[in-house]
Each structure stands twice: as structure tokens, then as C-alpha cells.
Assembly symmetry: C2
Homo-oligomer: 219 residues x 2
């Protein structure tokens, strides 16, 4: 029933435009009553984005499971991939919607508000993970914005090419920049040793250094 309403709506949007189609037109085409429409979609905008609520719930669940993930920025990037996957699952529908959203300001506005909700979910996860950092809140906000911007950049590139290739490749490349830039960075370490130092001693020394032991560490 839900899918029926979505495809009826998109047929009509293509024929008569978004503004030229009423909810009555949609339920008439789908052969159901008005109340069925409102059972699934609170507004006409929602029928254009039928899967965001599910994706958002999935994202939140995935982030909650990652409360101990040693790499919070990586987790946030992986959470953003869930949104990409939702688009990729219905590539043809996503391309049609992309064209429609670019033309209709009300849909653009609705989409912006959905994006903000993803961003807030990511920021709220990162805020919890960075609770002990002095600039944790700022960092959480800024990284969440970076993740969303990079994800959307990759997704747009894929959609505007007609969703030809593999969405995950372009989106992963984009997210990788954010991960490398904001993730924990390794430091440079220098070890000075005599040529006759036994290997086990060098390894022991390296471990001490890695764990922040004696030795010089350069940020």
C-alpha cells in the first residue's frame, strides 16, 4: 500500500508536476482512500522521501551500538554510509527524486530539514564520545557537519551522473578525507639505537614509546 502510494505519486509528479498534483489525485490513482495516505505520510512532502525515517532510526541504532568504538569519527562516517545505501537500494527512484527536488523549493526545504536531523544525530553521538575533551562540543558539531558535507558531495556526484557507477565508491572516497583529517592522528616517533641492539630490545623500546613512555614524541 505504501509503495503503491509512492509510485502513484511519482507517476503524477512526472505527468503534472509536483505543485500540479494534489493528495486527492494521488489516492485516486492508487485506488485507495485519503485516510490511507495520511496513515503513511503526514504531508505531501513525505511521500517524496518515504525512507528517511527508517534510515534515521537505523543510523541512531548503529551509533548507539558504537558507544565503545575506539574510532568515533570512523563510526560517524560509517553511519553516514547507511544513508547512501538507502539511496543506492533504489537507484532509479533516487535519480528521479533528485531531479524533482532540484525543481521544487518546498522539497528542497524539506530535504534540508531531513539533512539537519542526520547531522544532529551524528553530532549528538560525537558529543557523548568527546565528553572528556575541553572542546568536545565544538568538535562534535564541526565534524558532524564535515561528515554530512562530504557524504552529500559524494552522493550528489553519483546522482548527477545518473547513478551509473557504484555509489559506495564515490561516497567512501569523500568520507575518507573527513576520516583522515579529523580522526586520531599518529605522531612521529624517533628512536635512536646502536647497530648492535638486539631486535627484541628495539621492539620493547618501540612499545614503550607508543604507549607514551620515555623518549621524544613529536605532535
Amino acid at each position: 500500500m505504501r509503495d503503491l502510494l509512492v509510485s502513484a505519486a511519482f507517476e503524477l509528479f512526472t505527468e503534472y508536476g509536483y505543485d500540479g498534483t494534489t493528495i486527492d489525485d494521488i489516492v485516486h490513482r492508487a485506488g485507495v482512500g485519503r485516510r490511507s495516505f495520511f496513515r503513511y505520510f503526514p504531508t505531501k512532502e513525505e511521500v517524496v522521501f518515504p525512507d528517511h525515517e527508517r534510515a534515521l532510526a537505523e543510523m541512531i541504532g548503529f551509533l548507539e551500538e558504537g558507544a565503545q568504538d575506539p574510532d568515533p569519527v570512523g563510526r560517524a562516517c560509517a553511519a553516514a554510509r547507511l544513508v547512501m545505501r538507502m539511496y543506492a537500494e533504489k537507484a532509479e527512484f533516487s535519480v528521479k527524486r533528485y531531479a524533482l527536488t532540484r525543481k521544487v523549493p518546498a522539497l528542497k526545504t524539506h530535504e534540508t530539514s531531513v539533512v539537519r536531523r542526520y547531522e544532529r544525530a551524528l553530532a549528538s553521538y560525537l558529543r557523548r564520545r568527546f565528553a572528556t575533551l575541553q572542546d568536545g562540543d565544538l568538535r562534535a558539531c564541526t565534524i558532524a557537519a564535515s561528515v554530512v558535507a562530504a557524504h552529500n558531495y559524494g552522493l550528489r556526484a553519483w546522482l548527477s551522473s545518473g547513478a551509473g557507477g557504484d555509489a559506495s565508491i564515490v561516497v567512501d572516497q569523500a568520507l575518507d578525507l573527513v576520516h583522515r583529517t579529523w580522526g586520531d592522528k599518529a605522531e612521529t616517533m624517533i628512536m635512536v639505537a646502536r647497530t648492535d641492539t638486539p631486535a627484541w630490545q628495539i621492539i620493547q623500546q618501540l612499545d614503550t614509546l607508543r604507549e607514551g613512555g620515555t623518549g621524544y614524541r613529536f605532535a
Copy 2:
């Protein structure tokens, strides 16, 4: 006349709420005709954000002048400061507006669209500056989003504290994180020399190394 309309509007918004005030009410209170209102403000939303067009034009001009700036990320951060300054110039008005915008969804939507325009101006500058980088477009989008997120984080902190302290301190601290993270990073260099090496030779060696000459450079 313009300022008169803005203050009449804010008086009425405080007394009757945003939705409870019409454009007719505003022109009546200001003692001018309807046409005067529309000469300055295309919509009722615009009277709430009377200075954004000016700030946006200033930002674009500042970015255009920075076409040769050796530090594009720093330039983008400095451009964002112009927006903060616009808020700080009228601190009391900014705090009132902040409270109003949080309550009225139509204003929130309008503000989001203004923020997107700042972000696009920053991205478009960075895109030009990163034209030779393979991932220049992605980098431009993502850094612009980071700058805007950090700027807004600082601005919100200042506004929600009642605009008590110096806006530029909190906003600069926030932007500094973005600048440090996305700006050009120095590499670590290691020089090995005998204790009897003359100083001039060490300096010469350092210069060669800095310019990418022979020697080990660690990213």
C-alpha cells in the same frame, strides 16, 4: 526609514508574536505606507534579518580580494568573522532575534537558507583556490561546511549566554580549530649532524630540507 520599519516590526513581534503581526501592522506602527515596506523587504521574514545581504556582499568582496592569499582556509575563516561582526554590532537586537527565530519555524527555515548562501560563497572561493588539487571540489565543500559549523557554534554560544562577553573571542576559538585542522600542515624534519658542524652549514642544510631538498621528510 529602514531602521524604523525594523524596530516597529520587533516591537510588534514582542507584543503580538511573529505570526500575530501582519505587514499592515508594521507599516501602521512605523507610520509609513505599504510600498515603503516592500521597497526594503521583499517578505516579512526579511525584516527579521535586515543585514544579511550586506554581510554576504561584504564576504564575497573580501574573498575576491583574497584570490592570492597564501592561506585559503585562513581567508575563509576570516570571511566568516564578518558575519559574527554583523551580529556583534547590534548585540541586543541579535539576542532578541535569536529568541524569536528559535520559536518561529518560518524564520528558522529562512535562516537556514541564508546560512546556505554563506556556505556556498565560501565553497566557491575555496573551489577556485583548490582548482589544481585532485580532490579540490570535495575539499572546498567540506571545509566550507566546517567553517560555517564552527562559526555558528561560537555564535550560538555567545547569543545563548545573552551576548555578554566578546563575540570575537568565542568565534575565533571555534574557527581556530577548523584552521588548524584543515590548513596546511608543517611536516616533521629530522637532521642528523656531527657536533663539530659549523652553524652556517646547519642553516644551509635546514633551508635545503625545508624547500624539499635531499633529506628525510616525514608527513
